[in-house]
């Protein structure tokens, strides 16, 4: 089996395993084992990737695998990674692994909690390995739905409000994204022929510039909402503050990175001309996010709100780099993801008496 597929299979198997557990002890054990395997797998992937690159393999994507699963629309299960996705996968591996231990004492509905958490991770891993826009979108939705449950059920404070707000706003983003992705699909091969969702294929052909101008804002803002782009960031502080710590970790450390990654992989990569033309708008918006988030953070009194606003600020930085060109973007994302997750754990150490 392709190594990348394992990244989806292992979480799914873990979820299946948790279904058979009886109490907290068993379910957290199964989750820990599953995510440890996942972490080791991430390390192996990094190693394999580096060796492959050093051996001189300069293909744009490595470890590719392709299978058609919905012929009517030419939707594939296509996977592959480059350096950026490998970095993001390694990051996710670490954060999810740590997240399991951060929820070590989740007494309430523990089985369901771990199932949701790992389902969320499945979506994130799937997102990072996908090369097919539709499959990517599917995984994205898989990641968002458990978020609603995790905050709404295991959260604190005004959790129903926060969960609903987060879900509605992210679904709003998905709607924009859906338009963007379908638009890209219909203009993927302007010369005529079989339409495709495959990112690499689309990049080979050029989407007509008139359509780019129209589609770029849809995709960039769609992913931008997930990356807390001003003024669509308000779901993030509430969501952070209400979410249980492990979820905040995933949220700040990984989920918000989906936004940056998607903006780069889809919006900027496929529509470079429009990205260049409209960069100024997004540079202004993201600069606002950076400064505004930081000032917002200064005023907060709740530790988790401080974290959340600082996430807004830092994600703004990530998207800012995206508006500016791209390569630095994901390096920044990887760094920040780690940073945010560490902060979340610190917040936990302070807020959670059982931990300290």
């Amino acid at each position: 089996m392709n190594i990348l597929t394992l990244f989806v299979v292992i979480p799914v198997l873990t979820v299946a395993g948790i279904l058979f557990t009886k109490d907290l002890k068993q379910s957290r054990l199964v989750s820990a084992v599953g995510m440890t395997v996942q972490l080791i797998l991430s390390a192996i992937l990094v190693y394999l990737y580096v060796t492959e690159r050093q051996a001189g393999n300069m293909a744009p994507m490595l470890f590719t695998f392709d299978a058609l699963w919905f012929p009517a629309l030419n939707i594939h299960y296509a996977v592959g990674v480059d350096g950026i996705s490998v970095a993001m996968i390694a990051l996710t591996g670490v954060v999810v692994f740590a997240g399991i231990f951060a929820s070590w004492k989740m007494e309430f509905l523990s089985r369901e909690f771990f199932i949701s958490l790992i389902l969320l991770a499945t979506g994130v891993f799937g997102f990072f390995i996908s090369l097919d826009l539709f499959t990517m979108f599917l995984f994205y939705e898989i990641a968002v739905i458990p978020m609603y449950l995790l905050i709404g059920i295991w959260g604190s404070g005004p959790k129903e409000y926060s969960a609903m707000k987060l879900t509605l706003m992210l679904m709003g983003g998905s709607a924009l994204l859906m338009v963007g992705i379908l638009g890209i699909y219909f203009y993927s091969v302007p010369t005529g022929g079989q339409l495709t969702f495959n990112v690499l294929e689309i990049a080979k052909h050029k989407i007509p510039i008139e359509m780019q101008r129209f589609l770029f804002p849809f995709t960039f803002v769609g992913f931008g909402i997930l990356g807390a782009l001003f003024p669509f960031h308000t779901w993030s502080p509430d969501g952070h503050a209400s979410a249980p710590t492990a979820v905040s970790m995933l949220h700040a450390g990984v989920l918000m990175k989906l936004g940056g990654y998607g903006a780069f992989r889809v919006a900027i990569f496929l529509m470079p001309e429009a990205a260049h033309e409209q960069a100024w708008i997004f540079i202004i918006l993201t600069s606002i996010s950076v400064v505004y988030g930081a000032f917002g953070a200064i005023f907060q009194k709740d530790l988790k709100y401080i974290n959340a606003y600082s996430s807004v600020s830092h994600c703004g930085l990530v998207l800012f780099a995206g508006g500016d060109g791209g390569a630095e973007l994901l390096l920044g994302a990887a760094q920040f993801g780690f940073h945010a997750a560490v902060l979340e754990v610190l917040a936990l150490a302070v807020t959670h008496p059982a931990f300290g």
Binding site: K165, L168, M169, F230, P231, H233, T234, Y292, F295, G296, I298, F299, Q300
Partner: protein
């Protein structure tokens, strides 16, 4: 790989001690953690002395200069083929000198703390942090490139934060730690910007390439200008901002007095002898670049140094917390070092200021660590920091008294103690460069003697106060480091620094200029004499003097309200006038719009949901009505 490869162990041993003691903290009973830390640092100290001996004496070919060499280097991050980030160990005169300074003081502090920190909660944690600090500081001075230095620079900041906040249950200690971290971190932003500008223009981070006076880096500088100064000059000024933050130069000094909330041995190690001179070391490390391409930046260094030395000395004369007096004195002395670098030129005898600065750094480390540890012994005896709670202690603490007196005489610049020699070199360097700066430093020399003896008399002379118990001399484990450092304070002035640590590595002739030395001794003696009259026996004179300068005295006592100014800017302006509106705007306008949209949808659906009543009669009625309406419309329109 050279024969110096073993120097890698010097920073690594404290690191391993940190990891081990930090992990096993709870299991190390009694003093075990401290003993492990002290042993580790003892080995590092031995290796440092061996390195100094090897580098300066046994490996040195007579008549040649000292070159810098890389004992060890690996590529850490490969960015492009030209630009890599390396980690390594750089051996040259200043780094070897710093090795000796850091390990000596750190080792003394390790031993001293075995007594001073005895029975404190978290004894092993203290030693773990102390080792972390030693590791970071050693890594900083051994850095082969700017980026590595920056990494360790931040690590030093973190360990300083941890140690200032050692008594984290005490709110004042905690906020002092925060303050130190935030202020230095703010300054480090300048450092980072400077590094980026400098490396962007020269294409390298490497010190050897950057500072080679005939190398490409210096030759390729100059170029574009901004606001009348070249870009490189701006980069150097930004880098100096970072240095000024760590070295507590005005106006970034506000964290240092508060940092005295940390345990006294920490103040001796970090906030007197090692970390606070990192800024001096940074400028010295890049000195060829400063002197060859950015004379304007050097001028900034000189004036900031001179102003700080005066400013801090004035404040020191008014403070009553003995550790704060020492903290301001440290600022003042570091100002001397900065000034000395600022007036120096590159090469030969023109590099007198460079040599003097490093010389003073060395002697200052000895006597200031001694002063702090002595103050620690006093605090240990009377359980107070305030000099109003002290008096007549010379009878009870004979060893502390003698060593403290030696340190006071040293800092006052009385021969033959070491401070005299290094201060004399600085004054000579200033004299040759700028008479105004020279005048300021002369005045500061007098002030220094005055406030140190004010401190000395207040602690050791005068009447006994009401002590909780009879003050007693500290245990041997604390007094032995005092004696060793006193020995260093007396004799380190005879080290031939002009042969060893010079700007271009070549020896030059240096002798005491009596035209400058004699007046400086007289100024020192005058300062001591005034202090003796005012403070040896309690009398009304100090209060009268204070009253006659009442306005100025109050200003100085309040540290010229610099803290209040910062608080005003951060709390009042940034917090109230920027952050509060931003937070309000976010909650009410941005989020309000989002909630408003949601509420609008709820409102609309609430009002139209009555239409879906489920009553068939109503549906039929609306259906018929609709048909009729449509028919009428079509009839009329047709």
């Amino acid at each position: 790989m050279s024969s110096y490869a073993y120097t890698l162990l010097i920073p690594l041993i404290p690191f391993f001690v940190f990891v081990f003691v930090g992990m096993a903290e709870d299991k190390l009973k009694g003093k075990l953690g401290g003993l492990i830390g002290t042993t580790g640092l003892g080995i590092a100290t031995f290796l440092s002395y061996y390195t100094a001996f090897k580098y300066f004496i046994s490996d040195h070919v007579a008549g040649t200069g000292y070159t810098s060499l890389k004992a060890f280097e690996i590529t850490w991050l490969h960015l492009t083929d030209k630009l890599t980030i390396n980690l390594g160990v750089l051996i040259d005169p200043i780094s070897v000198m710093m090795l000796v300074v850091i390990t000596t003081v750190s080792f003394m502090v390790h031993i001293y703390s075995l007594g001073y920190m005895e029975g404190e909660k978290g004894f092993a944690r203290f030693y773990a942090f102390l080792s972390l600090f030693s590791f970071s500081m050693l890594g900083l001075v051994l850095a082969t490139n700017l980026f590595q230095m920056y990494i360790f620079w931040e690590l030093v900041g973190v360990s300083s934060f941890l140690l200032i906040g050692y008594y984290y249950e005490k709110p004042s200690a905690f906020s002092a730690a925060k303050k130190a971290f935030i202020v230095t971190r703010f300054a480090d932003l300048g450092f980072l910007i400077g590094i980026l500008i400098l490396s962007f223009n020269t294409g390298t981070f490497d010190f050897k390439e950057l500072t080679n006076p005939h190398g490409v880096a210096i030759a390729s500088m100059g170029g574009a200008a901004f606001m009348g100064l070249s870009v490189i000059t701006w980069a150097l000024i930004f880098i100096f901002i970072g240095g000024a933050g760590k070295s507590a130069m005005f106006p970034l000094h506000i964290w240092l007095p508060d940092a005295m909330e940390g345990p006294t041995p920490v103040s001796a190690l970090i906030h007197a002898a090692t970390m606070v001179v990192a800024g001096v070391y940074l400028v010295a490390r890049l000195f060829p670049v400063y002197s060859q391409t950015g004379p304007a930046a050097l001028e900034v260094v000189a004036w900031v140094g001179a102003f700080t030395s005066l400013f801090a000395a004035v404040i020191a004369t008014t403070q009553t917390d003995i550790k704060r007096v020492l903290a301001f004195s440290t600022m003042s002395q570091i100002g001397y070092m900065m000034l000395s670098l600022g007036v120096s030129k590159y090469g030969g005898e023109d590099g007198l200021g460079f040599m003097a600065s490093n010389f003073h750094l060395f002697t200052h480390a000895m006597f200031k660590a001694l002063l702090f540890l002595g103050a620690g012994a006093v605090i240990h005896a009377v359980h107070s920091n305030d000099m109003n709670d002290m008096g007549g202690l010379r009878k009870y603490l004979p060893i502390t008294h003698i060593t403290f007196l030696i340190a006071c005489l040293t800092i006052a610049g009385i021969p033959p103690f070491s401070g005299f020699f290094s201060k004399d070199e600085i004054l000579s360097a200033a004299f040759e460069s700028n008479k105004i700066l020279f005048g300021i430093e002369y005045f500061v020399a007098g002030l220094t003697a005055f406030y140190m003896f004010r401190l000395y008399y207040n602690i050791f002379w005068g009447h006994d106060r009401h002590y909780h118990h009879t003050p007693h001399e500290a245990p041997l484990v604390m007094t032995v480091p005092l004696m060793i450092l006193a020995f260093g304070s007396i004799f380190s002035g005879f080290l031939p620094f002009h042969n060893l640590v010079t700007s271009d590595g070549l020896a030059f002739e240096s002798h005491i200029d009596w035209m400058i030395a004699v007046p400086s001794i007289l100024v020192g003696v005058l300062g001591i004499a005034v202090a003796t009259v005012m403070y040896k026996k309690e009398n009304a004179l100090p209060d009268k003097v204070a009253a006659s300068f009442s306005f100025f005295y109050r200003w100085a006592f309040k540290k010229f309200y610099v803290d209040e100014f910062y608080l005003f800017v951060t709390k009042k302006i940034i917090f109230n006038y920027i952050s509060r509106p931003v937070a309000w705007f976010d909650r009410h306008i941005v989020d309000g719009t989002m909630n408003g949209i949601a509420n609008l949808i709820v409102f609309v659906s609430f009002n139209i949901k009555g239409l879906q009543s489920g009553r068939v009669q109503q549906y039929a009625f609306v259906f018929v009505g609709g048909v009729v309406a449509l028919v009428l419309i079509f009839v009329y329109l047709a």
